[in-house]
């Protein structure tokens, strides 16, 4: 019996299609796995079911009746409960209040029934009592819990909805083995009660341990659904990769400079918040790619190299000399450059003219105390020109430019005085295609000029097309290095999904 059916669902955010054509059919009494690469649209699909995102097109059917999920409250009324990947907890409220927040037990019309709250929440906490750790009690404020405990509380909150359809969007990313096992036991119990469970995970072993059927999504479209018993991890990865294998082959062979430039930066056993024991070297003229799923330590590593915040332990050597970055300031003066995809937070100086956005690094590296606009402009223009930046005048505010051109300005900042190593942290996020092409052409040219470049991109195609070597991250460490002909989408996914 089909419990939940989505057909032809789509959602666009501005110009980006988050979901092109989503189909999904969930039976009562099954654990249905959703899988797809970064940004393929899984989370958007879940949020549409949960009502926190409204679809542009398509239909949702529950028990064969078409429904409109107008918001989280409507979803609740329709019997849909969700575990949010980014969690939906109130930090200062207690565990018990958080578990039952969607529907606080009442006394009379106005009051919270404290006894019922403690008792009901206690039942859900007891489910995980063996694995949650002693400090997870009903009265603890959620802000005092560890990441895995918070994830457990979000799980309890989803369970407490008692919804016939439960969606878990990456519920296990912070859990340890025992916690996952306990969670799966509970899920099996729910399935046997006849509930429908949608489960998203990036760990192939988990998917095969708990799933009944699997649906693969690629580039915002549902590719197909198969029974877990009839498939294999390799077959699933092949479905995720599809016919795009051709894309993965770089347009031309990596330039000779990629190998013969000498080591620019070497990193040994570096550990910090979000990554551990990472070692690698980058040569002058080489583009080193960091791959894998979102948030597996790639950005954290790049930020740590730039000193924001610095790594806890390990050694970094820049051009033969030990490098100690305390903060971004010292990283800049020793010759590192960092460009973030989060322009609003890390790049653009909003509301200021283009000239001021191009020159701060130049000013810092040369300890400029007084600025002469004419001399600064003379330095800035060639850098902007190298990037094909389109702008009306240096005195115009940066906000007058498109996202792609803003990012070019941020990159130009680093080109007035050449750095030794360029760290690119998902630099093309939210940038149109032609600007992307310009950017990567420039990045290759910079590499040919002798810069060492480390590129993290959440778009696998960008990595495969532009990086000379790729380090695949999983759980904060490097699982595999792909070089030469190994750089295929299949290998990339294989390492990213199966290594756990």
């Amino acid at each position: 019996m089909t419990k939940l059916k989505l057909s032809g669902v789509s959602k666009a955010y501005g110009a980006t299609m988050a979901l092109r054509h989503g189909d999904l059919e969930i039976e009562a009494g099954e654990v249905h796995v959703l899988i797809g690469a970064n940004g393929s649209g899984k989370s958007t699909l879940c949020k549409i079911v949960a009502g926190s995102v409204r679809p542009d097109r398509g239909t949702v059917l529950i028990d064969d009746r078409p429904v409109t999920v107008s918001g989280p409250r409507a979803a609740k009324a329709l019997g849909i409960g969700i575990f949010y990947q980014e969690l939906s907890l109130a930090e200062h409220r207690s565990v018990a209040e958080n578990i039952l927040m969607p529907d606080l037990p009442r006394k009379g019309r106005l009051f919270v029934n404290r006894e019922a709250l403690a008792e009901t929440a206690g039942r859900y906490i007891a489910l995980f009592a063996q694995v949650a750790g002693e400090d997870l009690t009903a009265d603890t404020p959620v802000g005092r819990l560890r990441a895995d405990q918070r994830q457990l509380v979000e799980i309890m909150k989803a369970l407490a909805s008692k919804a016939p359809v439960l969606i878990f969007d990456e519920p296990t990313s912070a859990l340890d083995r025992a916690q996952v096992d306990r969670f799966f036991e509970i899920l099996r119990g729910l399935r046997n009660e006849g509930r429908s469970i949608v489960f998203i995970s990036h760990r192939m072993d988990e998917i095969f341990a708990i799933g009944d059927r699997v649906t693969v999504i690629r580039d915002g479209e549902t590719i197909g659904t198969t029974t877990i018993a009839d498939t294999s991890p390799a077959a699933v990865i092949r479905m995720m990769v599809g016919e795009q294998e051709g894309l993965a082959v770089p347009q031309d062979a990596p330039p000779a400079s990629a190998t013969g430039g000498g080591t620019a930066l070497s990193v040994a056993h570096l550990s910090g918040q979000g990554f551990s024991d990472v070692s690698f070297t980058v040569a002058r003229g080489e583009i080193l790619g960091l791959g894998g799923l979102h948030g597996q330590g790639q950005s954290a590593l790049l930020r740590a190299l730039f000193g924001a915040p610095p790594a806890h332990s390990g050694a970094v050597t820049l051009a033969g000399a030990a490098l100690r970055t305390e903060n971004p300031r010292s990283a800049i003066t020793s010759g590192l450059a960092y460009v973030s995809g989060d322009r609003g937070r890390d790049g653009v100086i909003t509301g200021r003219p283009i000239l001021e956005n191009v020159t701060p690094v130049h000013a810092l590296r040369n300890r400029l105390m007084l600025a002469s606009p004419g001399r600064l402009a003379a330095g800035a223009l060639p850098a902007l020109k190298a990037l094909n930046t389109k702008f009306a005048g240096l005195s115009h505010p940066i906000s007058s430019l498109s996202g792609g051109n803003q990012q070019k300005i941020v990159i130009a900042r680093w080109l007035i005085d050449r750095p030794d190593v360029l760290l690119l942290d998902d630099p093309t996020k939210g940038i149109d295609l032609s600007a992307k092409a310009d950017l990567f052409a420039l990045i290759r040219k910079l590499a040919e000029d002798g810069l060492a470049i480390i590129l993290y991109s959440s778009e696998d195609a960008e990595l495969l097309n532009n990086a000379d070597r790729i380090l695949v991250f999983n759980g904060g460490s490097v699982r595999r290095e792909l070089a030469g002909a190994e750089r295929t989408r299949y290998n990339l996914y294989h390492a990213a999904y199966e290594a756990a």
Partner: protein, 329 residues
């Protein structure tokens, strides 16, 4: 696979846990210090009569601070509490005057006063939560609007309150001053409200609006509820102002608005929402009252009083923040 970034929040001392439960502890310490200082400068200031007078004068600010706290719970702010209090003040004065000033007219006027406060709160809630205007600017605008209404109702200050009204507020029953009955009623009210669903939901909204929305909470309705509660408490504050000053004044509340915000912060609540207590705000309102008394008793020359008062409030804020930070670090 256990890439769990362990958050360095464990192993906090007992004091930290205590502060988590009772964020107004620093405020209590400051209150006691101020009481002692007052006693040193003017032993008489600790007499029952003086303390009664202090509570009588600052009851209004306590109620305004409570009003402000419920809005701040949800990470909003209300810069119109003072204007609402003024509007209610002149409304009830004019009504009582028109109805003859008897006992029944007082009760009727107070009923209307509460409704006026509630209506103002609903207006604020509507513009901030439903129209999604910036709380700080929107309530500043409504404050001008409410003040305008108050000036229309009573253009100049000075219409007196009926004798029965201010005699009751300033009087005693069974040997206990009337204001202490007010304090007792307030305590019961705050106790009940702390157990209300609305208070918990306001705090959840203040903690993270997106998370609250995704949890299925009716965020807009909850925020409007917070402003409505705020309006009602501002009306109650207006009753105390009227009892204390025994007259109507269309501008009487204006200067109290930012004091109410200061009291909320001094009482240990976070202006960013999601965390705080009303008890702290009440204590902090008393602290502000004691500071004013101290400035007076210490014999500060009149042209220095504002200067010293401002410094003292800054110092109290700093002590409070330093103590909390030490405890939480």
């Amino acid at each position: 696979m256990t890439a769990t970034p362990s958050i360095a929040r464990e192993g906090r001392g007992g004091f930290g846990a205590l502060l988590d439960r009772f964020p107004f502890l620093p405020a209590i310490v400051i209150l006691i210090v101020l009481l002692v200082l007052n006693g040193l400068f003017e032993p008489n200031s600790l007499s029952f009569r003086s303390l009664t007078g202090l509570v009588r004068t600052y009851m209004a600010l306590m109620l305004l601070a409570v009003a402000q706290t419920y809005v701040v719970y949800a990470a909003d702010i209300d810069l119109s509490v003072g204007a609402i209090a003024s509007l209610v003040n002149v409304t009830i004065i004019v009504l009582m005057q028109h109805l003859g000033g008897g006992g029944l007219s007082v009760v009727a006027a107070l009923g209307v006063g509460v409704l006026v406060g509630l209506a103002c709160g609903l207006v604020n809630g509507f513009v901030v939560a439903a129209l999604r205007l910036q709380a700080i600017v929107a309530t500043f605008a409504t404050s001008i609007f409410f003040t305008g209404l108050a000036l229309t109702i009573l253009p100049v200050a000075g219409m007196p309150a009926p004798t029965a009204f201010w005699r009751t507020y300033g009087g005693s029953f069974f040997g206990i001053p009337f204001v202490f009955y007010c304090v007792a009623v307030l305590a019961v009210l705050l106790y009940l409200l702390a157990r209300s669903r609305l208070a918990t939901q306001l705090l959840a909204v203040g903690d993270g609006q997106q998370a609250a929305f995704q949890s299925g909470l009716p965020v807009t309705a909850i925020r409007i509820g917070g402003y409505a509660l705020c309006g009602v408490f501002a009306a109650l504050a207006a009753f105390c102002i009227t009892g204390d000053t025994a007259s109507g004044d269309p501008l009487v509340g204006a200067k109290m608005t930012l004091f109410s915000v200061a009291a909320v912060v001094l009482g240990g609540s976070a202006l960013s929402g999601g965390f705080g207590t009303v008890v702290g705000s009440v204590i902090a309102a008393l602290i502000i009252g004691l500071i004013n008394a101290l400035v007076f008793f210490a014999g500060t020359p009149s042209h220095w009083q504002n200067f010293v008062q401002g410094l003292a409030i800054l110092a109290a804020l700093m002590v409070g923040i330093l103590v909390s930070r030490r405890g939480r670090a």
